[in-house]
């Protein structure tokens, strides 16, 4: 398998999705602000979307279903981003901070 033929191989896409997923997990556990964690969670979502599209292209009998599913993932991701950001703004208004260490009212 040559380097220039990578785009015809299922494993390329799966490995790329795994790398993006790992980056998202790393961002989620190391970020200190809510917006940073939201950015990392977008990486996880896009990794799952790449996985679905790769299986859709290489193994599924009907390639249009995976594309429809990816479109639905995009819509849900957009809704999630909107709600997450509005929660961030509400938290900032109440606590005057978006640092996750300041938001400890529910900590036992």
């Amino acid at each position: 398998m040559s380097l220039l033929n990578l785009h015809n191989d299922l494993n390329t896409y799966l490995v790329l999705a795994a790398i993006l997923f790992g980056m998202g997990i790393y961002g989620l556990v190391t970020r200190k602000t809510l917006v940073g964690m939201l950015i990392a969670s977008e990486l996880v979502l896009v990794a799952s979307s790449i996985n679905i599209m790769a299986f859709n292209r290489f193994t599924a009998p009907d390639p249009s279903i995976g594309q429809i599913f990816a479109l639905f993932i995009m819509a849900i991701a957009a809704a999630e981003a909107a709600i997450g950001l509005s929660i961030t703004i509400a938290v900032y208004r109440n606590y005057k901070s978006v640092d996750i260490e300041d938001i400890v009212d529910l900590q036992g």
Partner: protein, 190 residues
């Protein structure tokens, strides 16, 4: 010897029909490698950069690369929607949120918890290596294609087989946007 063979014999190798297809394949491979690098570099910037504005820029770069990867997966429509929704809407919204509610001078220095630093790197690395190992070792059954997944077919299926899900997603989006407006507006007069 017909006229086309004569023309082909006069041209240099990469200008003949077969040769041109080969050059186009190589060019596609090179562009794919560039877009792969764009995606990974964008992701590294998005999860590693200290300043959030740079992280959003890296996220946009990563999404542009992912759109190109969708294009290589025979899905130009999804690639266009990726550019429109992720790069055009989500990244801009995050940039607005950073401008409204992320004063970076107020964030305390130092690690953010037990998993930050090397332990976080190990966690993410283990997850990545595990998933790569699973993906490479597994043999996935390949079924024969029954169609090509054209844009026309996506439109027909969205309005017939999947019309219920389509409408439900529209309602979810509407409620999410209304709800986020309500949450963000609450207590604004303070």
């Amino acid at each position: 010897m017909n006229i086309m063979d004569q023309v082909n014999s006069l041209l240099p190798g990469f200008l003949t029909a077969d040769g041109f297809a080969g050059v186009a394949d190589e060019a596609a491979g090179i562009v794919f490698l560039i877009m792969l690098a764009t995606t990974i570099i964008g992701g590294i910037i998005a999860c590693n950069s200290k300043r959030l504005v740079r992280a959003v820029t890296g996220l946009a770069l990563c999404f542009v690369g992912v759109a190109a990867i969708y294009y290589y997966l025979n899905s130009p429509f999804v690639a266009m929607m990726q550019m429109l929704i992720y790069v055009g809407a989500v990244c801009i919204t995050i940039a607005f949120a950073i401008m409204l509610a992320a004063p970076e001078d107020k964030v305390k220095p130092g690690p953010s918890g037990p998993l930050s630093g090397p332990l976080g790197l190990i966690t993410a690395g283990l997850a990545t290596i595990g998933m790569i190992g699973l993906a490479v070792k597994t043999v996935f059954p390949v079924m024969p294609k029954i169609n090509m997944g054209s844009v026309q077919l996506i439109g027909v299926k969205l309005l017939t087989n999947y019309s219920m899900v389509f409408e439900l997603v529209s309602i979810v989006l509407l409620i999410a946007i209304l709800g986020s407006l309500v949450i963000a507006r609450h207590g604004r007069s303070k």
